[in-house]
Homo-oligomer: 634 residues x 3
């Protein structure tokens, strides 16, 4: 698979006279792809039913003439103002009951049938116009689903849709009452149309109620996306893509991904470190201008799974952004490092956001490859360097790694619904496990929860999976590597209840979680031989062998040679010890990674990325701050 | 008075086939009481006016056959979904104006006349069915008034009710305008129906307006409760009980208690430490698995007063709960300790919540005496041990203590209405005084604010009482012990104004508060001889003798031999010194309590409770962590 | 200009029999002014159209007979309850869409045309009654515009007004779309009545949209004030005044001030330190009972500019207030110090708030010169001392200082609209610059952003001015002192876009800001020779000389001898060094100020104010804590 670079471009922001110059500079920088169109509905259709394609035809032609390939975006994340006159109730409603109004973007409700029809119409119209255009080589549908917390809506459309969804799922109110346990607190319903959305209840709503609403809401994203897929498929052979965001967990990306050809994501390492990644004060300061050294890798690996192997970065941060709490500039070299890291993790294309910083509107302080006055911004030269380096390096093939991490969206909702400890989120646990694997120098594959074959892997981690799927349980039953399941795995039914007999139900492994404890930050459960659990601890019973105990003699890890259950949330050093022991047992070699350095192996090459602020030595090679090093894979 | 144990049970959660086994196990554990019914309205009355008592008859009979006594709960905290079709406006409305919707519990407005009628109806129907049932030996009305902040509602029903209440109280708008001081800021009303609830004003509303709304809201709880009392009284001779919550101050418990026979409360020591008790970081960590060592005692003493001497614990935490910010498991032994502490403070019954952990719905992660799979949870054995110990010990009689603390709900509202310092609450001051008394090894009685006889006590504290009642003022005038009044006592009229002449108006004691200061956490007022006031300081004038001064020579305690006024909020060590001095003067012996150890004297016995994490020595006896020790009272 | 003292008085709060005694005591205290009337609408007009002036006539006469001069306040900040029956939609609406209800004060919407008419009517009626009354010597219009965040309203009246305002400004939707850059995210409007207020959008609204709403909202305050000015001007020759609040930046005070004769402000040093001034923990504790030592001075200097040289303090804190998070009492002497400081900064009158503490309603815990029982509160003697001291000292004339700071309200809105870093506010930067000047012992003039003559000053600072005005740019072009412009100055067009070519556009100074960075609190950009930038850093390019560089060699200050651009936000010590260097270059002598001591020079006198808690030595003179010292200006 060749590696390519690209850029996001908004011809509508600039005088048409400038387009050809821009295109020539893009080509000269070594770019292959140009994404356009995804916010331009008001220009494509200035009045309801009145299309204006001329400007877009010329833009595509100008870019194509510069031998650039176009990624055409459907503009459904930004319906024009006139759409609200047609569909006044199309706005999402927040959990406080307030409509989320026009004036920015993503002002629509996934549940609204009328708006879905409008999306089908514009997608079809675009497909008809550009589906066979030789310069349009890929499509992006909508933009950043869930960005600005837009998956969950408490609108009338959502209420009606949810009731229908429940009726289809349960067929009778009694079945729903039984599944949810509504006998508790006299919550039984006599009819589906008595059921409300689970917001603004006096105290917490039934977790089964919330979970079904979360599933319903995820399904709406899948259905919304599918409408456009169905509209475009007959009209184009180009791959269909969506650009996901970082740490968005409110819909099942695997299911959206199943309808698409490639999973792209929008990578803003510095913005994400500032606004959505936990970290110590020291980490936040050390990586202020680089981003968290594991966050990009995690998302590359996750979205490679979502894309069934095909991964893009559709938007790559090139300089300071405008939307994070604080917006410093990247360390020189990071725009190159991030691109190479994406390639090392399997990306086919990395597109910088954006060609030129627009001097107006919401993102005027968001950098591009060019300054607003068309002078080069710092990242332009770094992009050009990457383009040259790509040209000189053979294609990279992803190897299937030796290590896998199971990651499940539905479990993330279950944690949200029932955190049991303030601020507990499944992502934090999964990311803690991922970081521990990375600190051991391992290259990780992330797998969906219905994975049925673990045989390629010597080590598999399955933390926080509320319910094990049947295929995964079957795969575990015959697995010959080492699987470490838990904590908080397989402790719930799909109805968000405690199963009977109590979980986990691990094949041939007699272990039961009898009680769970959530711990405040000040507390820890100390382990024999040092180390501790934080945040979470489960009381285990059963006849399975105990591999690790707490200091006061309670089981911390139980299970057999191949399948073990972890009873708590290890702190970082403890996770290192546990992973180290498992790798030794599994015959997996590990690496001692210097501070700030991260490694990624492809089929043939080993890549090293220095996220630190100072040079590090790697087997005699000095890798500078923000430096990338590659060598043949050992 | 004999001591008994019990448990909360939900037959409707379990197959009927299991009931008899459950009942037998309860009896074998040594339990006497089983509370049932309080959330089962939807099963008692599955459709409006259609009752189904059969299942409940059988449940009562099954329990009764096992020689268990039933506490029958009226289910008015959980009206069924069909109730909203009958009474669409029955929901409470939060301070932001949003209805608090169906889907959990306590979804009703205390002010709603229609819902009160429904409650009268179901209570009467239950009374008719079970009022003379030989197995039903007590009644619980509703469940945990105010839980989930449900006392205050900003609904139309509340608005209308409040206007009528004001009209009855003031008779004319002019009288109200004068009482409230509405001449300030042109706030006069011309008619009662111009008066709104005091939420969503531009800046703070008139404190007199707020106070009347707080009194009105409390009155609604009293009236709501009385409706069911009136319905049940003619139909049963069993005692009527309500189970209050911890640190709920929004209604006058004494007035609700006046209509009932026993005050019960729901004691969740670990949950409360996590979510509603201030404490240092160290205390929060030290007592993480035990609860605050004074909080249970305080509530036992308070609710003993509310119950006019009759106290129960209706729900006793047995293991981790699900609703606090963090939910660790209790230290082994605490389920026993908590029960014994309740008995030492006069409880007649302690009922664990709940028999078996339900695997579904909101509280599925809340432990019981049994696990969801019917295996014993850790607390079952501790309950059985308590039952055996009870059987072997003579009855305990409460002694009237030597020390009293006056505690007043209306003053708590006045502090809320006019804290003057961020986060100041009367409870914190009263609890600080209570803890100081406990550190001195004293057994405390809590008294209502209209107490007219202080003669049983050698020492009385009256902190934070905004207005002294006439009976209390009269009692103070002839008191021969030592009463320490203040700070912030008797400084307001009942109309929430500064009295003229300015307060306090202490009998034969010339002291006036001329000015009050609230202090940020960083500040303190140092006292002569060491120690300091925190949070609050009043400037005193008058001819009464000065007993203590600030370092710069201002009065800190003034008054005569029997009646003194305290000008500030002493820090813990200072409170110890003040209490020590008063006890010496009053001839009250004090104790040096080791860390974590607490004492409670009954008429004949002294009980010691080790809340600490390590054993302590008590006069040569080693009391282990979570240990209880008793000996003859010296 | 003579200096005078006064007091705020509410005859309507007290029995008429008391008025004459009060007046005599005021006169005996040495007071000149009595402000009355500003909250008494309900008594002036008890029913719609029914006026009652008799009581007010008598109050004026009683005060006048005691040779006191009356400041008559229009009562438009507190419309009576009946006004809502006339104008049910007159209430402002908060950003969450909730009407801000009756029950306190300032319950009106600046945009509401009906309410403006009511204000015109009452102002005219008062003017007709008292405009020529010999005792009424000044007028106050309304009270504390914007207090309780009342400038911005999201009401229907505001929505309609905003649309009309936009239509007048832009004339066509296309012009607006172009100016705002609505092509971004398909936000174009087809008609002005499609435009909503910029609240409750899905993510941030267009900053140009927000800025126009901020300008519109400020204009409404100006227009609202002008209605009363126009009503009163023909009816009186007395000066018209408004009493502004501290750190209120939501409307353009210069424009309101342009219609008035005097700018007054309400100075609550201790309350403001607690609730609206940033400070280190140490500063908050050190100045707890004195207020921030630069905040009063800053506002005096600012409002002297707003008043075109005429400054009053209309409300001066005399003791503890009731509305701040914590409300300690002032250090003895502060009520005198604050008054003298105001005089030193040019105040003609200082009026204490209030004569007597009212024992009822919202501010019952807000001190006055008298206690509620008419006994002297501590500040009464201090006021009397100031009155004596005034009588013994010659008049003070303000000198134009040597140093100026440009302060611009519109820029403050631009920072709010686009802070780029969490919690960044222009006020903080301007105040940091002001404090640095004060630490150097300089007396500062604050100038509006359209200042066209800088020639009186040797040094001018212009931090954070988003757009330089034409007059200011022209003044800078010919300036012969040293002007330090930036950071974040002249980087935006009036349409809130990045200008092309990029800014700043400094006369004859080739410097361009190519990129901005916002920094978290943990980060800093170190400078050569020590010191650092915090919060903010701009990348500079150009051929102008570099005066200061970062440690890694990037420009920190660039420009010529007279006009320089500052690229970041210096920390305090760094600001001291920069100011020191500029003063040396400008030939401005500086002072070494001891901790807590502040200096202010008038034309002939030098004043020193000791804000510290301990005495300080000043050239051999010991100035006690809370002490004031004056000497001939050197
Ligand atoms: Zn072509
Ligand atoms: Zn029976
Ligand atoms: Zn006269």
């Amino acid at each position: 698979m060749p590696r390519t670079l690209g850029v996001c471009y908004y011809p509508e922001h600039w005088p048409e006279a400038q387009w050809a110059t821009d295109a020539a500079r893009m080509r000269d920088t070594g770019l292959t792809w140009v994404r356009i169109g995804e916010f331009a509905w008001s220009l494509m259709e200035p009045a309801p039913g009145t299309y204006d394609w001329d400007w877009l035809d010329r833009a595509v032609e100008t870019l194509g003439n510069a031998v650039l390939k176009v990624v055409m975006g459907t503009p459904t994340a930004t319906p024009p103002r006139w759409m609200l006159d047609k569909l006044p109730d199309m706005l999402a409603v927040d959990a406080q009951g307030r409509p989320r109004r026009f004036g920015s973007r993503r002002h629509y409700d996934f549940s609204h049938p009328g708006y879905r029809e409008e999306c089908r119409r514009i997608a079809r119209a675009m497909g008809e116009r550009y589906g066979r255009n030789p310069h349009v080589a890929a499509w992006q549908i909508d933009n950043e689903y869930d960005c600005h917390d837009t998956t969950l809506s408490y609108s009338d459309a959502a209420r009606l849709g949810f009731r229908n969804w429940l009726a289809q799922k349960y067929q009778s109110p009694d079945a729903l009452n039984r599944a949810w346990g509504n006998v508790f607190w006299s919550m039984q319903y006599d009819a589906f149309d008595q059921i409300d959305l689970p917001n603004l209840t006096v105290t917490e709503p039934n977790p089964a109620h919330v979970m079904d609403f979360r599933r319903y809401s995820s399904d709406q994203v899948v259905a919304f996306n599918r409408v456009q897929v169905d509209a475009l498929r007959p009209l184009t052979d180009a791959p269909l893509i969506h650009n996901y965001m970082g740490r968005t967990l409110t819909f099942d990306h695997y299911r959206v991904g199943a309808d698409l050809d490639i999973a792209a994501w929008d990578s803003y390492p510095i913005g994400f470190l500032s606004d959505r990644i936990e970290g110590t004060k020291k980490e936040k300061q050390t990586f202020l201008r680089q981003g968290h050294p594991d966050n990009q890798a995690f998302h590359h690996d996750l979205y490679r799974a979502v894309g069934k192997g095909r991964l893009w970065v559709m938007e790559q941060q090139p300089g300071p952004v405008n939307w994070a709490p604080y917006n410093p500039a990247p360390l020189p070299g990071m725009a190159r490092l991030w691109a190479w890291e994406a390639f090392a993790h399997g990306a086919e294309a990395v597109c910088y956001f954006r060609w030129r910083q627009a001097p107006f509107a919401q993102e005027q302080l968001h950098a591009g490859l060019l300054r607003p006055d068309s002078q080069p911004a710092p990242a332009l030269a770094e992009a050009a360097q990457v383009a040259e380096e790509i040209a000189q390096m053979p294609d990279l093939d992803q190897a299937t790694g030796n290590v896998a991490l199971i990651f499940d969206y539905e479990s993330a909702w279950a944690w949200d619904t029932q955190p049991q400890g303030a601020d507990f989120e499944m992502f934090r646990l999964a990311f803690a496990a991922y970081r521990a694997l990375r600190r051991a120098g391992l290259s990780v594959d992330i797998l969906p929860p219905d994975t049925g074959d673990l045989s390629p892997y010597k080590l598999v981690l399955a933390p926080g999976l509320m319910t094990l799927s049947d295929p995964l349980r079957a795969a575990l039953a015959t697995y010959h590597g080492i699987a470490l399941v838990g904590p908080r795995s397989d402790l719930k039914t799909r109805d968000m209840a405690i199963p009977m007999p109590m979980g986990p139900h691990l094949p041939d492994t007699d272990v039961t979680v009898t009680l769970v404890e959530s711990l405040p930050p000040s507390d820890r459960i100390r382990l024999q031989g040092g180390g501790a659990f934080r945040h979470w601890f489960e009381h285990l019973e059963g006849t399975a062998p105990v591999h690790l105990s707490t200091k006061d003699g309670r089981p911390a890890i139980m299970g057999g040679d191949h399948l073990r259950y972890l009873a708590g949330w290890p702190d970082d050093a403890t996770f290192d010890g546990i992973i180290g022991g498992l790798c030794d047992a599994a015959g997996l070699p590990t690496l001692q990674m210097p501070d700030g350095l991260r490694v990624r192996d492809t089929a043939t090459m080993r890549f090293l990325f220095n996220y630190g602020m100072t040079p590090v030595d790697w087997n005699g090679t000095t890798i500078p701050a923000a430096g990338v090093h590659w060598e043949a894979r050992p």
